[in-house]
Symmetry: C2
Subunit: 138 residues, 2 copies
């Protein structure tokens, strides 16, 4: 069987982040480290997929961290050389083979194709791939 | 500005699921609905990225649900027509524009490039995109 890494799949973003965060180096690494509220601005052809989302819902936003280095397999966690180097799969580094960001946020407001969400650490312009409801243990 | 949905990004899977689940129709919709343990089998060139993962770690496995219909924007949740139709972003339906699966599992064992994990509802052969540690509130 050929290696799975020879396969390719194509992502088609559905929205973009609109945020006061514009400087990647200055952006918080995690939402609770001072990230601001943001808008998720959906393309017009995605409006049907938003049906059923409500303010107060807790959702996971999946982003494409388009500025990441995909060739990196080992990092110093949090970019701090004092932290021993380790594989990216045991870290939340944006540098990884498929730089998909997971952001758990609360929906604050919905205005047509724009969804306002709580603290989000992705920078302005970041492509959004998906939104899913958070599943809580039954 | 052109619609973000005109952009394209390329996924390169890093591993594949090895599971006794082979029938998509019979597979559980969520892990707690009777899903079996599974192996995540990484390609040889991804071993460096595994460094630091340990049995007992709780991780999120990201999969590419390759059998999904990406044109679907509204569904009856859980495929049950008794549930009112709604947008896919307020459901965990595998049918969605970018069919990325999120699976929170515990690592049970690591054997070279194979990682054994607890209950996982993805079928055998599903491509794996990423593994991330679960973040717990501080």
């Amino acid at each position: 069987m050929p290696p799975v890494t020879d396969d390719r799949y194509e992502l088609r973003p559905v929205a973009r982040i609109q945020s006061p965060l514009t400087d990647l180096a200055a952006a918080p690494k995690q939402a609770h480290e001072g990230a601001p509220e943001a808008w998720i601005v959906f393309d017009a052809d995605m409006l049907d997929a938003l049906d059923g989302l409500r303010p107060g819902d807790d959702v996971v936003v999946l982003t494409w961290l388009h500025r990441s280095d995909r060739a990196v397999l080992r990092v110093h966690p949090r970019g701090d050389v004092a932290n021993p180097i380790q594989g990216v799969f045991s870290t939340r580094s944006p540098a990884r083979p498929n730089p998909i960001g997971l952001h758990e946020v609360r929906i604050l407001a919905i205005d047509g194709g724009r969804v306002r969400v709580s603290a989000l650490e992705a920078i302005d312009g970041t492509p959004v791939l998906d939104v899913k409801p958070v599943l809580r243990p039954a």
